[in-house]
Amino acid sequence: MDALKRYFRSPAAVLGLVLLLIVVGMAISAGYLYPRDPLALAGRPLVWPFTNPRFLLGTDNSGRDIAAQIFHGARISLLIGGVATLIAVTIGVMVGAIAGYYGGWIDNILMRITEAFQTLPNFVLLLVLVAVFGSTLTTVTIAVGIVSWPAPARLTRAEFLSLRSREFVQAGRTLGMPDAQLILREILPNALPPVIVYAGVVMAVAILLESALAFLRLSDANVASWGNLIGLGRDVLRVQWYVSAIPGVAILITVLAVSLVGQGLNDALNPRLKQR
């Protein structure tokens, strides 16, 4: 409860939450406001924004409604960002927990693998995965999740390492608790808050990764993605720069919202740091 109160006392955190709710609202309302396929031809190409009330944000090079693509794009960004984050955090927590709790050779092997993933530039790995498995919505989401797990894994491992030697865990051991209980019930609840807060960062990066992939036309071309639209707008950048500019702002606002909420949660859950 205190944490909730602290969260709402920070203007930045509240702003982040409001922005996030707006993006979520866009994603939910996209089907009602723009029931037609956002990628279907809607009118004359390259209509400037605010010149035609039918196309509030104008149309792109192929005459598709930009506003419709922005609303439907919110769904794609949140979906890919959310699911990829879930995948990354799940893998990361499992790997980090096992490595940090057991230590020794298990830790050694798992950390070698994590290190390998971190040594290979994540975007290059993403390119490799897309080259191998293709560019459907599902494969792109899974690929983004797979390249994002090492950071949460390291964080979880660090938490487990420090908590493992804490006296309350040792006390649990002297009481005769089995490993599973120590990991799941004693350590994990204490290790999880920083990881959940960090999920905000993972999600922000995931959204950026997908949009970059879409911009390079390596993501799913059959869905209305903000990155796709920016890539498309590049062809008419000299004059109709708004085709690229508008979806970029949408990405910026979404990533900003996710980061602000993450940071707000962090400050609310770790008030000691904020006071300093």
Partner: protein
């Protein structure tokens, strides 16, 4: 002793805390004075405002904390009215300070010589070569071995005692009129503490420095103080010469503090059972760190061939300084750490050879109480669940375990109505009682207590020790009691084993070991206890 006028006069000083703190003022209307060539001790427990005094005099209060009333007169000047630049020229040159933790008080990335030289550099116009030679002579003044090497060393390359000597050298570099020492020996081992106290005394007398010495330990007061100021909750409750206050404390709080520092003299021995409950023989634990495939690894012999027996119902103290291996030994006994060799026989079973699974089944026989009351309780569990946890793991139905836990609350002197609170809602002493209840819930035969009172304030220490003594009688517990504090060991232990560098150098009945120590190290430990006669004979 003071012939001239006071160097420092604090006149009805009040220090206000920011809104939302647990009280409005850290210090209320405190007056005191320190004269030349005089050591004044401020004594108090945590929260007494004694450290805030030092910060207020230095004008180094944390943000949001302000002096809102009173004056601080330093050789006639009011420091409260001094400008920031004036204060900077006074700090380090005329008033110097030594802190509690010498490791963190020194910058880890710069050499000792560099950090001492900095004081000379900013306050004097001395040339580099002159500063260098002054640093070396300061280091030899504080008796650091090999000053040229120490000057080139980084803080992590020196021992704790040497680091504190370097801090003192830094503080005394410009012959300040006033030295403020904030718990300068609390983080040190007892033998090192004795040396540092001697050094401060020696330098102070040679230079006629006025010293304001902040401590929680009346033993240290007896050792070093000319005059004493006792503080509680930001108010001075008693002041006077060291003799008066120690011999004839008037305020109840002072009496309580003095009573909490018992003499090392052990009470008359209890009759011990002939039956051996726990027998250790040849226990060894060696750590290897770093290195590749066993080559070039640093080898630490934490415990070397330790053997002793614990009679049923007795309390065996394992005493030693940090690094003696006493905590490692405790963790080997309860198998939080696997010993390399030796046997630990309890009730016919060798704990050193048991598998993890067997240990889990037998933990009811042996339980542990931990040092840190803040780290030893899972912050996300209610107190009652923490206590009931053990029996539930071992198959007691939940309802039964919870009702038994409530009874235990009463047994350890906690209010059962507080059972549903989370650990952070309890004080340190109360948390330690919860930890004790958790261990007792499994009805163990042996209790291993690792420094169970050293994280507590002295008055709380006494309460927890009394509780432990009474439980021992009522439940027939046998206890292994790890401590660095010989005074605590003398109070509670029937037998003691003195450990140094992983070896038990001497063991036997407490009153014999402490009364007629055989080993040189035991004598050194006993001699190092601060306070002279005050610490060795019962208080009137």
């Amino acid at each position: 002793m003071s012939s001239t006028g006071p160097i420092l006069t604090v006149d009805r000083l009040s220090v206000r805390l920011p809104k939302g703190a647990d009280r409005s003022h850290a210090i209320t209307e405190v007056s005191l004075s320190v004269a030349e060539n005089e050591i004044v001790c401020i004594v108090g427990e945590s929260g007494s405002g004694k450290s805030m005094m030092a910060n207020a005099i230095m004008r180094l209060l944390p943000q949001g904390v302000t002096t809102d009333h009173g004056r601080i007169l330093f050789v006639g000047r009011d420091l409260c009215a001094a400008s920031a630049a004036e204060m900077r020229s006074i700090r380090g040159a005329e008033i110097a300070m030594v802190f509690q933790e010498p490791m963190t008080a020194l910058n880890p990335l710069r050499t000792i010589g560099d950090q001492i030289g900095e004081v000379l550099d900013i306050h004097t116009g001395l040339a580099k070569a002159e500063i260098r030679s002054r640093v070396l002579s300061l280091l030899s003044d504080v008796h650091i071995p090999d000053p040229p090497r120490a000057a080139k060393a980084y803080p992590h390359e020196l021992s704790g005692g040497q680091r504190q000597r370097a801090m003192i050298a830094m503080a005394l570099a410009l012959d300040p009129k006033l030295l403020i020492a904030d718990e300068p020996t609390t983080a040190l081992d007892v033998t090192t503490q004795a040396q540092i106290l001697k050094l401060i005394r020696e330098l102070q007398q040679r230079r006629n420095t006025a010293v304001l010495f902040i401590t929680h330990d009346f033993g240290v007061v007896a050792e070093i103080a000319d005059r004493v100021v006792v503080m509680q909750h930001g108010v001075v409750v008693e002041h006077g010469t060291a003799r008066e206050v120690l011999r004839n404390p008037r305020h109840a709080y002072t009496q309580q503090l003095i009573a909490a520092v018992p003499p090392v003299a052990a009470p008359p021995p209890r009759r011990l059972s002939d039956q051996t409950l726990l027998a250790l023989s040849g226990v060894v634990k060696t750590y290897r760190a770093g290195g590749f495939l066993g080559r070039g690894a640093r080898v630490t012999h934490a415990v070397k061939d330790v053997s002793f027996t614990l009679p049923k119902g007795a309390t065996l103290g394992i005493v030693g300084e940090s690094g003696s291996g006493k905590s490692t030994l405790a963790r080997c006994i309860i198998r939080l750490i696997d010993p390399d060799a030796g046997s630990i026989l309890l009730d016919g079973h060798d704990w050193a050879l048991m598998s993890r699974r067997e240990i889990r089944q037998r933990t009811q026989q042996m339980q542990m109480v931990f040092q840190d009351p803040f780290a030893s309780l899972n912050p996300r569990r209610k107190a009652i669940d923490l206590v009931a946890q053990g029996p539930i793991v071992h198959g007691t139905p939940r309802d039964k375990a919870l009702s038994e836990a409530r009874e235990l609350f009463q047994l350890v002197g906690l209010d059962p109505s507080a059972a549903d609170r989370l650990p952070h809602e309890f004080s340190g002493g109360q948390r330690q009682r919860i930890g004790l209840a958790r261990a007792l819930a499994l009805k163990p035969d042996v209790l291993v207590a690792d420094e169970p009172v050293s994280a507590l304030d002295v008055s709380v220490q006494a309460q927890v020790l009394r509780l432990l003594t009474s439980l021992r009688e009522r439940l027939g517990l046998s206890i292994i009691f790890i401590t660095h504090d010989l005074r605590v060991a003398a109070q509670i232990c029937d037998l003691v084993a003195v450990m140094k560098d992983g070896v038990v150098v001497e063991h036997g009945l407490t009153h014999q070991v402490f009364g007629t120590p055989q080993h040189a190290y035991t004598r050194a430990l006993l001699d190092a206890i601060p306070g002279g006669d005050f610490a060795r004979t019962p208080h009137p």
